[in-house]
Every structure is written in structure tokens, then in C-alpha cells.
């Protein structure tokens, strides 16, 4: 049931059913409360004037201040940004290439590659994490930000490919032929015509990957070295020795950042004035 349906629709529904769907509304409310209450608590207590995590004693920005004076946390933030950026670029480049290959290779190879591509999406992340750790250890590779990047790229390619594949399939093959007809080589046609046409979807998937990787804990936990650690891992380590309200401030900022990025990913296609990016909501 949709409580925000336009007025005429709501009126008609009331006439049809003679009573409001009380039970459905109640379930919806409980669902959203359970979903967002913990997050709301984190946001609220990040502004607490006191150290208490249970009693709110007035508004203050002291925990935000504390964060920006904590060199370990700042180091972690820097590393997380770096890892997210590299993973974003790496997985977008590989994911777009894979999407192009999968759509254009109609043979058996393309079909199987398309199925294998989906495996990381359904594999429990912890399995991927442990597997990555074992692989790096087995090869004698020292864990550091590089290993986190490799693991995150591996994990993210599938997302990019899933988003891009339908867009690539929707491209008119004649457009690339037209570019070649007008004197472009195959590579120029890709660069000058195909990639610009895919740009909204590419940007949207890039933003999504950045947000996913920045927030990621499981993979990062298994593949990171000791110092610095990605922010999510750092927060987890800190909590084990007693919760500082600084964590609330960090959490609130990560939340704000993620919401901004996801909002951006949804807005990009609209900014380009055409359908072309994510359709997370409509599910088209």
C-alpha cells in the first residue's frame, strides 16, 4: 500500500475499500523505525556534549573536533579515500570493458563469461574475503593498501558490468558503424561515440562503487595490513577497546557522504537529461 499516492487515487481507494489499510501502515511504520532508529541514535549522540552513549546532555561538535585531531583516524580516512578512488577507477575500466565484451560476443564464451561474472554478486563477502587473504598469503604478498585495492576491484567489477550491460545492449550498433563510416577507426569510434553515449551510466556506477568500497568492512578487514587501516576496520578495532563518541561522529560523516554519493548516482542520469544510469528505484 502506498500512503503517498496522489489524492484522487487515495480517495478512490478509500471509496473502494471503505477503510484505511491500518495493518499495512502499522507494519510499514514499525519497519522504518527498526531500520533507522539505530542510525538515528548514532547521529544524535555524535552531537552529544557529554561522553555518555545513553543520555543526551546538550548539543556540541566536540566529537567532530576530536576526530579531526586524531591522526590515526585521519590516516585511516585518507587510506579509505585512496582505496575507494583506485577501486572505483579500476573496476569501472574493467567493468565497462567486460560489459562491452559480453554484449558483443554472442557466442558461447560470452554466455558463460556472463554467468561467471555474476558469481561474485552471490558469493558471501566473507568467503571472498577469506579467499583473498589465503591467496595473498599463499603468494607471499604483504598485506597493505594495495591488496585491499585489488580485492575491492575484483569484488566491484560485477556491479559495474551489471549496470552497464543493459545500457550497452540498448546502444544502436549503427551508431558505431556510422562513426567508422565517417572515417573513424574502431578505437576512435569507441572513444568518440560509444563511451560518450555510456557516460551517464559510467559516472553513476563509478559513484556507486566509490560509496560501496568506502563503506566496505568485510573485504577490507581480511586484506588490509596493520597500519594504516581502512576507516571501517579502524572503527571496528577502536570499538573493541571501548566506544568513544568520536566513532559516532565518524559514522555520521560516513553516512552523510554515502547518502550524497548515492543521491548523485541517482541524479546523474537526470542531469544528463536522459535515461542512462541506475534505475535503483523503478527497477527497470
Amino acid at each position: 500500500m502506498n500512503p503517498t499516492a496522489p489524492a484522487p487515487l487515495r480517495a478512490r481507494r478509500r471509496r473502494d475499500q471503505r477503510r484505511r489499510p491500518v495493518f499495512a501502515i502499522a507494519v510499514t511504520v514499525v519497519f522504518f523505525v527498526l531500520l533507522y532508529l539505530p542510525i538515528a541514535m548514532v547521529v544524535l549522540f555524535s552531537f552529544n556534549a557529554q561522553k555518555s552513549l545513553t543520555v543526551f546532555k546538550g548539543f556540541s561538535l566536540r566529537w567532530y573536533e576530536a576526530f579531526f585531531h586524531d591522526n590515526v583516524l585521519l590516516g585511516s580516512l585518507g587510506m579509505s579515500l585512496e582505496v575507494s578512488l583506485v577501486a572505483m577507477v579500476g573496476s569501472v575500466v574493467l567493468g565497462v570493458a567486460l560489459a562491452l565484451g559480453l554484449v558483443r560476443n554472442k557466442g558461447r564464451l560470452g554466455t558463460y563469461a556472463g554467468l561467471i561474472m555474476m558469481v561474485p554478486l552471490i558469493t558471501p563477502e566473507i568467503v571472498t574475503g577469506v579467499a583473498s587473504l589465503l591467496l595473498f598469503k599463499g603468494l607471499g604478498i604483504t598485506l597493505n593498501s594495495g591488496t585491499v585495492m585489488i580485492a575491492e576491484i575484483t569484488f566491484s567489477i560485477s556491479y559495474v558490468t551489471v549496470i552497464l550491460r543493459s545500457r550497452v545492449a540498448a546502444l544502436n550498433p549503427e551508431v558505431e558503424e556510422a562513426a567508422m563510416d565517417l572515417g573513424a577507426t574502431r578505437w576512435q569510434a569507441l572513444r568518440l561515440v560509444t563511451l560518450p553515449a555510456l557516460l551517464p551510466a559510467i559516472l553513476a556506477s563509478a559513484v556507486l562503487i566509490f560509496a560501496l568500497v568506502f563503506d566496505d568492512f568485510v573485504l577490507a578487514y581480511f586484506t588490509t595490513g596493520v597500519d594504516p587501516q581502512p576507516l571501517a576496520v579502524r572503527i571496528y578495532s577502536a570499538i573493541r577497546f571501548g566506544v568513544e563518541p568520536t566513532i559516532n561522529a565518524v559514522g555520521t560523516m560516513m553516512l552523510a557522504g554515502s547518502i550524497t554519493l548515492i543521491g548523485l548516482a541517482l541524479a546523474i542520469p537526470r542531469l544528463f537529461g536522459r535515461r542512462g544510469g541506475l534505475d535503483l528505484i523503478s527497477g527497470e
Binding site: N172, E174, V175, E177, A178, A179, M180, D181, L182, G183, A184, T185, Q188, L192, V193, P196, A197, L199, R274
Partner: protein, 372 residues
């Protein structure tokens, strides 16, 4: 299927009018074992408006794509102005294509779309601007230069696609059903315009269409294709008035097909009249034939002296404004259509009702006799 060795041809001057702009030399194309095009031989003269006409799946688009370099012939050679280009990619051929979907670059403005090919060739910027401007005027898109293709109407997008190809001054312009997506009125208008533009720029046009009216209106010559082969190639008048096969007769507008036995210069319909068609060399006495005649070649009044006249019964009258079509039964189960013009000179008393017996006259020269 005749396998052919690739012909080695000395490159001739592109301006030589005796060298065909396009030559298809025993070209075949197979897809997964089935032939899309079979052993095709075609010469298209410089400056000609040449149409490939046929139903969908007849191989006309595949033929066009082989000229453009988007499909590789399985056999045979493609020559442009005498030069063998069979192995060259599209960007190395002096041809340009107007695609059925227009295939415009949506992220570029109209001017950048049109200038795309010139920019690829490294033409200096001032010259690009000048040539793009002239082309925008030619296709009547003044004031649209900075618009994005998506903001244009279908007809305007079609003009952009045409300008984008023409601006490169190709030796041959390939058009793949460029008018198919337009509504009827706009299509008629674009047919006239396209023909005018072709005369103005003097470029060889190879035009693919499934619309026989379009092919007849616009072309210098038409190749009617069926099942990957050219059934007949000639002027619009040739293929319409003198079809050489049952397929061409049927495909080029409505045609009456009547079966009978050929004897003594006439086709005898079972249980009906004998239709004199004159001597037909090549048709055996007593053989079963199809007689084909177009509805507008049948006279219902004002017969000329010496014209064969037979009787029939009007079964149906279909009035459609400028013309009326009568369905006339010659023998049980054998019906022909006759088309009458409703001009000012047509007399009211020459209109018939169902059930009336009428006389049909025709010129034996307009009859096509096809052996089985």
C-alpha cells in the same frame, strides 16, 4: 553458386565516366550456411540514382553493407571506381552511409555531427565550418546548428544524417531505407528533395528500399531483388511495364495473374474466354502459362480498333476517390481487377454495378506470358 577468384583490376581514374562507380563482381554472402546474397553482378554508373528494391530478407541491405564495408563478401569482389576494396574497412572506403536509424551522435550538436567525418580526415577548422554551414543550408536546417539531435523531429534528424554523409563528398552515397521511419506525407516530400539534392551534388546514390513507389519515383535504374538474387535490373519503366518474371510482376504494384493454356497466340482460360496475346517465341504450344496484366492496362470502354475484347461479369466495385477498381469474373473462379480513372472526361454511364456484364479490352503488348 559459382566460386570466383578475386579479380585484379588496375585502379582507373575516378572521374572516368566509363568506369562504374560501384561494381559487384560475382558477390556472395553466406550467414551460417544460408545465402543472403547469391552470385551478384551489378554495375552502377557514376552519378546514377540506383535503387535496390525488394521485400525484407531479399539481401538488399546485405548488399549495401558489403559496398559500405560493414559485411565481408564470402565470395567475389567489390570495386569502387575500378579499385578493388573488398578487403578494406569502412573508414578506408570513399563511400558514406545514411543509416535506417539515422545513427546520429546524440552527445554532439547538429554541426558537430555533420563535421564529424571532416574532422576525422583532418580538414582545417575554418574549412569544416564553411562546408558544414553550406551543407546545413542545402538540407534546410538553418538555425539548428547548435541543437542536439534529440530535440529534432524525425524529418530533421533524417536531414542531419544525410548532411553528415554528403559533406564528405563521397564517390558513392549509400542509403539504407532512409525514409522508412517518416510518415507518408513527409516521405513524399523527402523523396522529391532527396532527388533534387542528388541532382545538385551529382554523387552516385545507392538506395535501398522495399517501397516500389519510392524506387519508381526516384531512381534512374532499379534492381529488383528476391532471395539474394537480382530478378531484374533496368529503368523504372522497364521493371514496371516489362517485368521479366512472375516475382517482379507481382512485386511492382498490383498485377493480375491468370492461368491458362497457350495455343495459337492466345491463352485459353479453362471454362472461359481465350485471350489473344500474339506470338510468344519461347513458349511452347499447349503449355500451361500465367498471363499477367496490370489493372490500369485493362480498358472497359472506348476500345481501340483491333484490340482484343472479351466478356466478363462485374463482381465487386471498389471506389477510392480518383480511381475505381472493378473485380471482374472471366470464368468461374478466375477474377481480374481493372482500374478506371475517375477523371472529368470519364462518363457517368461508364460506371458499372455488380452483376453487369462488361467488355474488357487490352493491348497484347501489355500482357506478360510466363511459362511454368
Amino acid at each position: 553458386m559459382t566460386p570466383t577468384t578475386a579479380t585484379t583490376t588496375t585502379a582507373a581514374s575516378a572521374t572516368d565516366p566509363t568506369v562504374p562507380a560501384v561494381r559487384l563482381d560475382h558477390v556472395s554472402k553466406e550467414f551460417n550456411g544460408s545465402h543472403a546474397v547469391r552470385d551478384l553482378d551489378l554495375d552502377i554508373a557514376p552519378g546514377e540514382f540506383f535503387s535496390l528494391l525488394g521485400p525484407s530478407g531479399c539481401g538488399k541491405t546485405t548488399t549495401l553493407r558489403m559496398i559500405g564495408g560493414f559485411a565481408d563478401p564470402t565470395d567475389g569482389a567489390v570495386l569502387l571506381s575500378g579499385e578493388d576494396v573488398t578487403a578494406l574497412p569502412p573508414n578506408k572506403r570513399n563511400v558514406n552511409t545514411v543509416f535506417q536509424s539515422y545513427a546520429l551522435f546524440d552527445h554532439l550538436s547538429v554541426a558537430d555531427n555533420i563535421g564529424f567525418g571532416l574532422k576525422r580526415k583532418g580538414v582545417p577548422k575554418p574549412e569544416i565550418r564553411e562546408r558544414v554551414g553550406a551543407m546545413i543550408d542545402l538540407v534546410q536546417l538553418g538555425g539548428m546548428a547548435e541543437r542536439k539531435p534529440r530535440t529534432l523531429s524525425g524529418g530533421q534528424r533524417q536531414r542531419v544524417a544525410l548532411a553528415r554523409a554528403l559533406v564528405n563528398r563521397p564517390a558513392v552515397l549509400l542509403l539504407d531505407e532512409p525514409l522508412a521511419a517518416l510518415d507518408l506525407k513527409l516521405r513524399r516530400q523527402m523523396q522529391v528533395e532527396l532527388k533534387q539534392i542528388q541532382r545538385e551534388v551529382g554523387i552516385t546514390f545507392v538506395f535501398v528500399t522495399h517501397d516500389q513507389d519510392e524506387a519508381l519515383t526516384m531512381s534512374d535504374r532499379v534492381a529488383v531483388m528476391n532471395g539474394g538474387r537480382v530478378e531484374q535490373c533496368g529503368t523504372p519503366e522497364d521493371v514496371y511495364e516489362r517485368p521479366e518474371s512472375r516475382f517482379v510482376a507481382a512485386f511492382m504494384g498490383t498485377s493480375n495473374l491468370v492461368s491458362g493454356v497457350y495455343r495459337d497466340g492466345a491463352v485459353r482460360i479453362e471454362g472461359g474466354p481465350s485471350l489473344p496475346v500474339g506470338p510468344r517465341p519461347g513458349i511452347g504450344e499447349g503449355s500451361v502459362v500465367d498471363l499477367s496484366i496490370r489493372p490500369e492496362k485493362i480498358w472497359l470502354s472506348d476500345f481501340e480498333p483491333g484490340m482484343p475484347v472479351v466478356n466478363g461479369v462485374i463482381r465487386e466495385t471498389v471506389y477510392s476517390g480518383p480511381t475505381t477498381t472493378y473485380l471482374i469474373e472471366l470464368a468461374p473462379g478466375v477474377t481480374v481487377a481493372a482500374l478506371e480513372q475517375n477523371t472529368a472526361r470519364a462518363r457517368m454511364e461508364d460506371r458499372w454495378e455488380g452483376g453487369e456484364t462488361v467488355e474488357l479490352g487490352y493491348d497484347p503488348d501489355h500482357c506478360l506470358v510466363l511459362g511454368h
